[in-house]
Protein backbone atom coordinates (compact mmCIF):
# COMPACT_ATOMS: atom_id res chain seq x y z
CA UNK A 1 0.00 0.00 0.00
CA UNK A 2 1.11 3.52 -0.76
CA UNK A 3 2.87 4.98 2.29
CA UNK A 4 0.60 8.04 2.38
CA UNK A 5 -2.56 5.90 2.27
CA UNK A 6 -1.17 3.69 5.02
CA UNK A 7 -0.48 6.76 7.13
CA UNK A 8 -3.97 8.09 6.45
CA UNK A 9 -5.53 4.87 7.76
CA UNK A 10 -3.31 5.01 10.83
CA UNK A 11 -4.43 8.59 11.49
CA UNK A 12 -8.07 7.56 11.02
CA UNK A 13 -7.58 4.81 13.60
CA UNK A 14 -6.01 7.30 15.96
CA UNK A 15 -8.91 9.75 15.45
CA UNK A 16 -11.52 7.02 16.13
CA UNK A 17 -9.72 5.96 19.31
CA UNK A 18 -9.42 9.55 20.50
CA UNK A 19 -13.09 10.21 19.79
CA UNK A 20 -14.22 7.11 21.67
CA UNK A 21 -11.91 7.82 24.60
CA UNK A 22 -13.41 11.32 24.88
CA UNK A 23 -16.84 9.71 25.19
CA UNK A 24 -15.57 7.45 27.94
CA UNK A 25 -13.92 10.18 30.01
CA UNK A 26 -17.09 12.26 29.63
CA UNK A 27 -19.05 9.32 31.07
CA UNK A 28 -16.52 8.98 33.90
CA UNK A 29 -17.06 12.69 34.62
CA UNK A 30 -20.86 12.28 34.69
CA UNK A 31 -20.56 9.37 37.11
CA UNK A 32 -18.40 11.47 39.42
CA UNK A 33 -21.22 14.04 39.57
CA UNK A 34 -23.51 11.65 41.45
CA UNK A 35 -23.93 12.83 45.04
CA UNK A 36 -25.75 11.00 47.82
CA UNK A 37 -27.24 12.46 50.95
CA UNK A 38 -30.00 11.37 53.31
CA UNK A 39 -30.71 8.30 51.18
CA UNK A 40 -31.26 10.38 48.06
CA UNK A 41 -29.37 10.76 44.79
CA UNK A 42 -28.48 14.10 43.23
CA UNK A 43 -26.84 14.73 39.89
CA UNK A 44 -24.68 17.77 40.51
CA UNK A 45 -24.97 20.44 37.81
CA UNK A 46 -24.35 24.18 37.52
CA UNK A 47 -28.17 24.59 37.55
CA UNK A 48 -28.51 22.70 40.86
CA UNK A 49 -25.68 24.74 42.39
CA UNK A 50 -27.25 28.02 41.24
CA UNK A 51 -30.69 26.99 42.51
CA UNK A 52 -29.41 26.04 45.96
CA UNK A 53 -27.43 29.26 46.16
CA UNK A 54 -30.63 31.19 45.39
CA UNK A 55 -32.53 29.22 48.04
CA UNK A 56 -29.90 30.22 50.62
CA UNK A 57 -29.95 33.86 49.48
CA UNK A 58 -33.72 33.85 50.01
CA UNK A 59 -33.11 32.86 53.61
CA UNK A 60 -34.08 29.17 53.50
CA UNK A 61 -31.16 27.59 55.25
CA UNK A 62 -32.45 24.63 57.25
CA UNK A 63 -34.87 21.74 56.77
CA UNK A 64 -35.62 22.60 53.16
CA UNK A 65 -37.20 19.97 50.87
CA UNK A 66 -35.62 19.33 47.46
CA UNK A 67 -36.39 16.89 44.66
CA UNK A 68 -33.61 14.40 43.98
CA UNK A 69 -32.58 12.91 40.61
CA UNK A 70 -35.51 10.47 40.74
CA UNK A 71 -37.96 13.26 41.60
CA UNK A 72 -38.32 12.00 45.17
CA UNK A 73 -38.52 14.70 47.86
CA UNK A 74 -35.83 14.84 50.51
CA UNK A 75 -35.46 17.28 53.38
CA UNK A 76 -31.98 18.79 53.63
CA UNK A 77 -31.27 19.83 57.22
CA UNK A 78 -28.33 22.17 56.51
CA UNK A 79 -28.56 23.79 53.06
CA UNK A 80 -25.23 25.64 53.27
CA UNK A 81 -23.42 22.38 54.01
CA UNK A 82 -25.29 20.75 51.12
CA UNK A 83 -24.16 23.55 48.78
CA UNK A 84 -20.55 23.30 49.98
CA UNK A 85 -20.56 19.55 49.38
CA UNK A 86 -22.03 19.65 45.88
CA UNK A 87 -19.73 22.49 44.82
CA UNK A 88 -16.83 20.38 46.03
CA UNK A 89 -18.13 17.32 44.12
CA UNK A 90 -18.63 19.43 40.99
CA UNK A 91 -15.15 20.93 40.90
CA UNK A 92 -13.42 17.73 41.89
CA UNK A 93 -15.12 15.96 38.97
CA UNK A 94 -14.56 18.83 36.56
CA UNK A 95 -10.89 19.22 37.48
CA UNK A 96 -10.32 15.51 36.96
CA UNK A 97 -12.14 15.65 33.63
CA UNK A 98 -10.09 18.68 32.55
CA UNK A 99 -6.83 16.92 33.36
CA UNK A 100 -7.84 13.74 31.51
CA UNK A 101 -9.09 15.72 28.52
CA UNK A 102 -5.88 17.74 28.29
CA UNK A 103 -3.78 14.61 28.64
CA UNK A 104 -5.36 12.68 25.79
CA UNK A 105 -5.40 15.78 23.60
CA UNK A 106 -1.62 15.91 23.66
CA UNK A 107 -1.15 12.20 22.87
CA UNK A 108 -0.28 11.42 19.30
CA UNK A 109 -0.28 7.62 19.45
CA UNK A 110 -3.14 5.19 20.16
CA UNK A 111 -1.03 3.36 22.75
CA UNK A 112 -0.51 6.63 24.60
CA UNK A 113 -4.21 7.55 24.59
CA UNK A 114 -5.23 4.31 26.28
CA UNK A 115 -1.90 3.80 28.08
CA UNK A 116 -1.53 0.28 26.77
Amino acid sequence: MDERIEKAFAVANYAATLSNQRRVISEEYKQKLVYYTNGSTFKVSPELIAFIKTVIELGHISDVPFLDANDFPVVIPNVQEFLDNIVSVYFEALNEYTVKYSEIKTKRKIADIVEL
Partner: protein, 282 residues
Protein backbone atom coordinates in the same frame (compact mmCIF):
# COMPACT_ATOMS: atom_id res chain seq x y z
CA UNK B 1 -30.87 -4.75 58.85
CA UNK B 2 -28.31 -6.91 57.02
CA UNK B 3 -26.84 -5.84 53.70
CA UNK B 4 -24.76 -7.91 51.32
CA UNK B 5 -24.07 -8.96 47.76
CA UNK B 6 -25.21 -12.14 46.08
CA UNK B 7 -23.55 -13.59 42.98
CA UNK B 8 -24.93 -16.43 40.86
CA UNK B 9 -22.55 -18.91 39.23
CA UNK B 10 -23.53 -22.10 37.46
CA UNK B 11 -20.82 -23.55 35.26
CA UNK B 12 -21.38 -25.01 31.83
CA UNK B 13 -18.92 -27.00 29.72
CA UNK B 14 -17.24 -23.87 28.35
CA UNK B 15 -17.39 -21.16 31.01
CA UNK B 16 -16.20 -21.39 34.61
CA UNK B 17 -18.72 -18.98 36.12
CA UNK B 18 -17.46 -19.87 39.61
CA UNK B 19 -14.02 -18.49 38.69
CA UNK B 20 -15.65 -15.26 37.46
CA UNK B 21 -17.74 -15.08 40.65
CA UNK B 22 -14.65 -15.45 42.85
CA UNK B 23 -13.07 -12.51 41.00
CA UNK B 24 -16.30 -10.44 41.16
CA UNK B 25 -16.56 -11.12 44.90
CA UNK B 26 -13.03 -9.87 45.57
CA UNK B 27 -13.88 -6.65 43.69
CA UNK B 28 -17.18 -6.21 45.57
CA UNK B 29 -15.38 -6.65 48.90
CA UNK B 30 -12.60 -4.24 47.92
CA UNK B 31 -14.82 -1.38 46.74
CA UNK B 32 -18.11 -1.89 48.60
CA UNK B 33 -16.88 -3.48 51.83
CA UNK B 34 -19.94 -5.69 52.26
CA UNK B 35 -20.34 -9.44 52.81
CA UNK B 36 -20.69 -11.47 49.61
CA UNK B 37 -22.48 -14.79 49.14
CA UNK B 38 -22.49 -17.19 46.23
CA UNK B 39 -25.37 -19.18 44.76
CA UNK B 40 -24.08 -22.18 42.83
CA UNK B 41 -25.06 -25.68 41.83
CA UNK B 42 -21.50 -26.95 42.34
CA UNK B 43 -20.08 -26.08 45.76
CA UNK B 44 -17.53 -28.86 45.42
CA UNK B 45 -16.00 -27.17 42.35
CA UNK B 46 -15.60 -23.96 44.33
CA UNK B 47 -13.99 -25.63 47.34
CA UNK B 48 -11.64 -27.76 45.24
CA UNK B 49 -10.52 -25.10 42.75
CA UNK B 50 -10.77 -21.85 44.68
CA UNK B 51 -10.16 -22.72 48.34
CA UNK B 52 -9.08 -19.13 49.11
CA UNK B 53 -12.35 -17.62 47.92
CA UNK B 54 -13.77 -14.65 49.82
CA UNK B 55 -17.43 -15.68 50.04
CA UNK B 56 -19.03 -15.29 53.44
CA UNK B 57 -21.55 -17.98 52.65
CA UNK B 58 -22.21 -20.38 49.81
CA UNK B 59 -25.78 -21.36 48.97
CA UNK B 60 -26.04 -24.55 46.97
CA UNK B 61 -29.00 -25.04 44.66
CA UNK B 62 -30.03 -28.14 42.77
CA UNK B 63 -29.06 -28.17 39.09
CA UNK B 64 -32.11 -27.30 37.02
CA UNK B 65 -33.49 -30.01 34.79
CA UNK B 66 -34.25 -27.36 32.19
CA UNK B 67 -31.64 -26.78 29.54
CA UNK B 68 -31.28 -23.96 27.04
CA UNK B 69 -28.35 -22.95 24.88
CA UNK B 70 -27.14 -19.80 23.23
CA UNK B 71 -24.26 -18.50 21.18
CA UNK B 72 -21.37 -17.14 23.25
CA UNK B 73 -18.99 -14.96 21.24
CA UNK B 74 -15.32 -14.54 21.98
CA UNK B 75 -14.48 -11.45 19.97
CA UNK B 76 -16.11 -10.85 16.60
CA UNK B 77 -14.50 -13.83 14.85
CA UNK B 78 -15.05 -16.68 17.29
CA UNK B 79 -18.14 -18.16 18.92
CA UNK B 80 -19.42 -21.25 20.67
CA UNK B 81 -22.93 -22.62 21.06
CA UNK B 82 -23.21 -23.77 24.64
CA UNK B 83 -25.52 -24.33 27.59
CA UNK B 84 -26.87 -21.27 29.41
CA UNK B 85 -28.04 -21.79 32.98
CA UNK B 86 -29.98 -18.73 33.98
CA UNK B 87 -33.04 -20.25 35.65
CA UNK B 88 -32.20 -19.60 39.29
CA UNK B 89 -32.25 -15.79 39.32
CA UNK B 90 -36.01 -15.61 39.94
CA UNK B 91 -35.51 -17.48 43.23
CA UNK B 92 -33.24 -14.76 44.61
CA UNK B 93 -35.85 -13.57 47.09
CA UNK B 94 -35.87 -16.94 48.88
CA UNK B 95 -32.15 -17.58 48.49
CA UNK B 96 -30.67 -14.34 49.79
CA UNK B 97 -29.45 -14.30 53.38
CA UNK B 98 -29.68 -10.47 53.50
CA UNK B 99 -32.47 -7.95 54.17
CA UNK B 100 -31.06 -5.65 51.46
CA UNK B 101 -29.33 -7.47 48.65
CA UNK B 102 -27.11 -6.32 45.82
CA UNK B 103 -27.40 -8.98 43.13
CA UNK B 104 -24.50 -9.16 40.67
CA UNK B 105 -23.77 -11.17 37.58
CA UNK B 106 -20.44 -12.95 37.86
CA UNK B 107 -19.14 -10.98 34.85
CA UNK B 108 -19.80 -7.57 36.41
CA UNK B 109 -16.47 -6.03 37.43
CA UNK B 110 -16.69 -3.40 40.16
CA UNK B 111 -14.11 -0.61 40.08
CA UNK B 112 -15.78 2.06 42.22
CA UNK B 113 -17.77 2.59 45.43
CA UNK B 114 -20.75 3.89 43.39
CA UNK B 115 -23.08 1.03 44.33
CA UNK B 116 -22.25 1.34 48.03
CA UNK B 117 -24.06 4.65 48.19
CA UNK B 118 -27.06 3.09 46.45
CA UNK B 119 -27.15 0.50 49.23
CA UNK B 120 -27.78 3.35 51.69
CA UNK B 121 -31.03 4.25 49.89
CA UNK B 122 -34.27 2.83 51.22
CA UNK B 123 -35.87 2.27 47.79
CA UNK B 124 -37.33 -1.23 47.52
CA UNK B 125 -35.91 -1.92 44.09
CA UNK B 126 -33.06 -0.25 42.21
CA UNK B 127 -32.01 -1.41 38.77
CA UNK B 128 -30.32 -0.05 35.64
CA UNK B 129 -32.34 1.05 32.66
CA UNK B 130 -29.82 3.41 31.03
CA UNK B 131 -26.70 1.92 29.56
CA UNK B 132 -23.44 2.98 27.93
CA UNK B 133 -21.68 0.88 25.31
CA UNK B 134 -17.92 1.29 25.41
CA UNK B 135 -17.86 0.74 21.64
CA UNK B 136 -18.52 3.72 19.45
CA UNK B 137 -21.65 3.81 17.27
CA UNK B 138 -22.83 0.25 17.84
CA UNK B 139 -26.55 -0.36 17.55
CA UNK B 140 -27.97 -0.30 21.10
CA UNK B 141 -31.70 -0.40 20.32
CA UNK B 142 -31.93 -3.91 21.85
CA UNK B 143 -31.13 -2.35 25.22
CA UNK B 144 -33.70 0.44 25.05
CA UNK B 145 -36.88 -1.64 24.80
CA UNK B 146 -37.50 -5.37 24.82
CA UNK B 147 -38.57 -4.93 21.24
CA UNK B 148 -38.98 -1.89 19.07
CA UNK B 149 -42.63 -1.31 20.00
CA UNK B 150 -42.72 -2.70 23.50
CA UNK B 151 -41.88 -1.93 27.12
CA UNK B 152 -38.59 -0.45 28.44
CA UNK B 153 -35.62 -2.75 28.85
CA UNK B 154 -34.09 -3.24 32.31
CA UNK B 155 -30.78 -4.96 33.07
CA UNK B 156 -31.06 -7.91 35.47
CA UNK B 157 -27.23 -7.87 35.62
CA UNK B 158 -27.15 -5.69 38.75
CA UNK B 159 -29.95 -4.71 41.08
CA UNK B 160 -30.64 -3.95 44.72
CA UNK B 161 -33.80 -5.04 46.51
CA UNK B 162 -35.26 -5.05 50.00
CA UNK B 163 -36.85 -8.14 51.41
CA UNK B 164 -40.50 -7.23 51.91
CA UNK B 165 -43.99 -8.19 50.72
CA UNK B 166 -43.81 -5.98 47.61
CA UNK B 167 -40.56 -7.51 46.39
CA UNK B 168 -41.84 -10.98 47.25
CA UNK B 169 -44.70 -10.30 44.83
CA UNK B 170 -42.29 -8.99 42.19
CA UNK B 171 -40.14 -12.13 42.24
CA UNK B 172 -43.26 -14.31 42.30
CA UNK B 173 -44.23 -12.56 39.07
CA UNK B 174 -40.77 -13.10 37.56
CA UNK B 175 -41.06 -16.81 38.41
CA UNK B 176 -44.54 -16.92 36.87
CA UNK B 177 -43.23 -15.26 33.68
CA UNK B 178 -40.39 -17.76 33.55
CA UNK B 179 -42.74 -20.73 33.97
CA UNK B 180 -44.96 -19.37 31.18
CA UNK B 181 -42.19 -18.01 28.99
CA UNK B 182 -43.65 -19.01 25.63
CA UNK B 183 -46.88 -17.19 26.47
CA UNK B 184 -45.15 -14.01 27.68
CA UNK B 185 -42.61 -13.90 24.86
CA UNK B 186 -45.49 -14.10 22.42
CA UNK B 187 -47.54 -11.51 24.31
CA UNK B 188 -44.64 -9.05 24.41
CA UNK B 189 -43.56 -9.89 20.87
CA UNK B 190 -40.05 -11.00 21.83
CA UNK B 191 -38.32 -12.63 18.89
CA UNK B 192 -35.53 -14.40 20.82
CA UNK B 193 -36.55 -17.92 21.79
CA UNK B 194 -34.32 -18.30 24.84
CA UNK B 195 -35.48 -17.19 28.27
CA UNK B 196 -33.64 -14.08 29.45
CA UNK B 197 -33.80 -12.63 32.95
CA UNK B 198 -33.53 -9.11 31.49
CA UNK B 199 -36.77 -9.68 29.58
CA UNK B 200 -38.59 -11.35 32.48
CA UNK B 201 -37.58 -8.51 34.82
CA UNK B 202 -38.63 -5.88 32.26
CA UNK B 203 -42.04 -7.53 31.87
CA UNK B 204 -42.50 -7.94 35.63
CA UNK B 205 -41.60 -4.27 36.19
CA UNK B 206 -44.14 -3.31 33.54
CA UNK B 207 -46.81 -5.38 35.32
CA UNK B 208 -45.84 -3.98 38.76
CA UNK B 209 -46.29 -0.51 37.28
CA UNK B 210 -49.89 -1.36 36.42
CA UNK B 211 -48.78 -1.84 32.81
CA UNK B 212 -47.96 1.86 32.55
CA UNK B 213 -44.83 3.94 33.05
CA UNK B 214 -44.78 3.91 36.85
CA UNK B 215 -42.00 4.34 39.39
CA UNK B 216 -41.84 0.82 40.82
CA UNK B 217 -38.18 0.53 39.81
CA UNK B 218 -35.77 3.26 40.86
CA UNK B 219 -32.72 3.92 38.72
CA UNK B 220 -29.37 2.84 40.07
CA UNK B 221 -26.79 5.64 39.94
CA UNK B 222 -24.85 6.11 36.72
CA UNK B 223 -25.37 3.75 33.80
CA UNK B 224 -24.88 0.09 33.01
CA UNK B 225 -21.51 0.31 31.27
CA UNK B 226 -20.69 -2.71 29.17
CA UNK B 227 -18.65 -4.38 26.49
CA UNK B 228 -20.34 -7.02 24.36
CA UNK B 229 -19.06 -10.55 23.91
CA UNK B 230 -17.63 -9.42 20.56
CA UNK B 231 -15.12 -7.22 22.43
CA UNK B 232 -12.13 -8.14 24.59
CA UNK B 233 -10.98 -7.21 28.05
CA UNK B 234 -7.21 -6.69 27.75
CA UNK B 235 -6.33 -6.18 31.40
CA UNK B 236 -7.39 -4.55 34.65
CA UNK B 237 -5.00 -2.78 36.97
CA UNK B 238 -6.37 -1.23 40.17
CA UNK B 239 -9.52 0.62 39.06
CA UNK B 240 -8.40 0.92 35.43
CA UNK B 241 -9.45 -1.44 32.66
CA UNK B 242 -8.29 -1.70 29.06
CA UNK B 243 -10.48 -3.09 26.31
CA UNK B 244 -10.49 -3.76 22.60
CA UNK B 245 -13.98 -3.01 21.31
CA UNK B 246 -15.35 -4.21 18.01
CA UNK B 247 -15.49 -1.80 15.09
CA UNK B 248 -19.05 -1.81 13.86
CA UNK B 249 -19.27 -3.74 10.58
CA UNK B 250 -15.50 -4.37 10.41
CA UNK B 251 -15.14 -7.90 11.69
CA UNK B 252 -11.84 -8.59 13.36
CA UNK B 253 -10.99 -4.91 13.77
CA UNK B 254 -11.02 -3.28 17.18
CA UNK B 255 -10.62 0.08 18.88
CA UNK B 256 -8.69 0.39 22.15
CA UNK B 257 -10.53 1.91 25.14
CA UNK B 258 -9.48 2.63 28.69
CA UNK B 259 -11.79 3.17 31.67
CA UNK B 260 -10.92 4.53 35.11
CA UNK B 261 -13.19 3.96 38.09
CA UNK B 262 -16.11 2.64 36.05
CA UNK B 263 -17.93 -0.58 36.90
CA UNK B 264 -18.10 -2.62 33.70
CA UNK B 265 -20.24 -5.55 32.57
CA UNK B 266 -17.74 -7.71 30.68
CA UNK B 267 -19.99 -9.84 28.50
CA UNK B 268 -17.09 -11.72 26.89
CA UNK B 269 -16.76 -14.34 29.62
CA UNK B 270 -13.95 -16.19 27.82
CA UNK B 271 -11.87 -13.03 27.74
CA UNK B 272 -12.59 -12.23 31.40
CA UNK B 273 -11.63 -15.78 32.33
CA UNK B 274 -8.37 -15.56 30.36
CA UNK B 275 -7.53 -12.32 32.14
CA UNK B 276 -8.21 -13.84 35.59
CA UNK B 277 -6.14 -16.89 34.75
CA UNK B 278 -3.22 -15.35 32.95
CA UNK B 279 -3.33 -11.54 33.21
CA UNK B 280 -4.43 -10.90 29.62
CA UNK B 281 -7.87 -11.36 28.14
CA UNK B 282 -6.80 -11.31 24.50
Amino acid sequence: MTTGALIFAQNNHSVDYVQLAVFAASRAKQYLDIPVSLVTDNKKWLEENYPNHEFDSVIEVQPSGLVQSKMFHDGSLSSKFTEWKNWTRSQVYDLTPYDRTLVLDSDYVINSPLLKTALDNDHDFQIYQSSFDLALDRDTTDFKRINRYSVPFYWATVFIFNKNAIMDSFFTLVEYIKQNWIYFKTLYNITAFTYRNDFAFSIAIHIMNGKTNGDFATALPGKMIYISDKDFLVNAVDNKMNFLVQKQKFYGEYTAVKTTGLDVHVMNKFSLSRYITGGSGV
